[in-house]
Amino acid sequence: MNQEPVIPDFGEAASCVAENRYFCPDWVRDNWGSVFQPALIEHVKLTVIAVVVGFVIAFAAALVAHRYRIAEQPFAIFSAIVYTIPGIALFQLLVPFTGLSVLTVEVALVGYTLLILFRNILEGLRAAPPEVLEAARGMGLTRRQTLLRVELPLALPAIVAGLRVATVSTIALATIAAFVIPEGLGQPIFAALRNYFKTEIITAGVLAILLAVTADLLLVLAQRLLTPWASARRIAT
């Protein structure tokens, strides 16, 4: 990929790049298709895969922990330890095991989602008031029916809140992953750092922020649509 800011060209675009001004719109337009668009798409893919896989694992673990209390601590401790490892370190440490591949990024990203998702799902499942559970039992619901019809719907606000935080933090961590594996929006940032090319650094940074904010807003919307009964005030806007 051609990262060189010095483009043999004339006119304003070239002088803007040569002078390394803050933002050269022409350069961004010329390199949108080769640099930014692929990075943005990769970033979205990295994030979606990580959050989906993380959710499946955390959901299964939370269901087990909800049923058997004893299972809660081991998973909580494991995911908390993973969570405290600095991102740059974890990405590099995984390379000997999974190579310089997308898998390395995904393993780390999934690891970071676990704590938030597990906590929120489990708290959500436990949020069902005892009276409601009593009523469910009184109506003759089985355990599985109680879970599906009572506990899970009541857990939805907490689950979506967890998804929101997990998604946003995954987007943030995925930018750091580019230090090890050239994927996602961090890649143009690290590439442009080598020659301090401001336009590329700032554009990639702004795109990452826009992506995170958009994802956040979409999930808020999902939260509102999925849980219309929750009063708007209590739900994070």
Partner: protein, 232 residues
Amino acid sequence: MSTFIDALQFIVERRELLLEKTWEHLVLSGAAIGVALLIAVPLGVVLGHLHRGSFIAINLSNVGRALPSLAVIAIGLGFLGFGFTNVLVALVVLAVPPILTNAYVAVDEVEPEAVEAARGMGMTPWQILRRIELPLALPLLFAGIRTAAVYVVASATLAAIAGGGGLGEILFNQASYRVEGLVGAAIVVSVLAFAADALFGGLQRLLTPRGLQTTVPAFEPDVVPAGTAVGR
């Protein structure tokens, strides 16, 4: 396992390097948290006291919490250049939202009955804030500060790419420091994050009036500020 032992050995053998980088890391994180506290706590507390500006305190802050730290540092780098100031500004931007949101929600949600009673006793608004609202708001307020502190200490590792120094210089330079240096520095960062949390936890305990003291909960690395969080 041997990597882990090598890392501990690295910590012992290269302690001078680690101490120097840790000090840089602490100065940077401390300055960022300090500035963020000066901005966010008064603003959040006053807005919460007045029950005004929930849009700024909650919505803007929620957007702020979504900011990827590397992107913020990169943009700061583009505009402010390499060095301490750029990274400091970026870290403050990252630290303000959780503190502001929690400070606002904490004071805003103090039971109206308690405030009414205080007003009935003839307290001035300042006294109400100082003696009723702030003590009752402390747990939530500190929850936000602790979240921010842990986040800043972790994000400060990225300072190294912008010439801000700190332990990130080791983490970003595996070529020189090898795996043991990487793991060693990672351990130190984790310890610092826990220490920052413990520090503010201790401060919270000191500031909480005895009558309100319950056990301070351990750190919950749950970035959802308690006020906006789940159905509890």
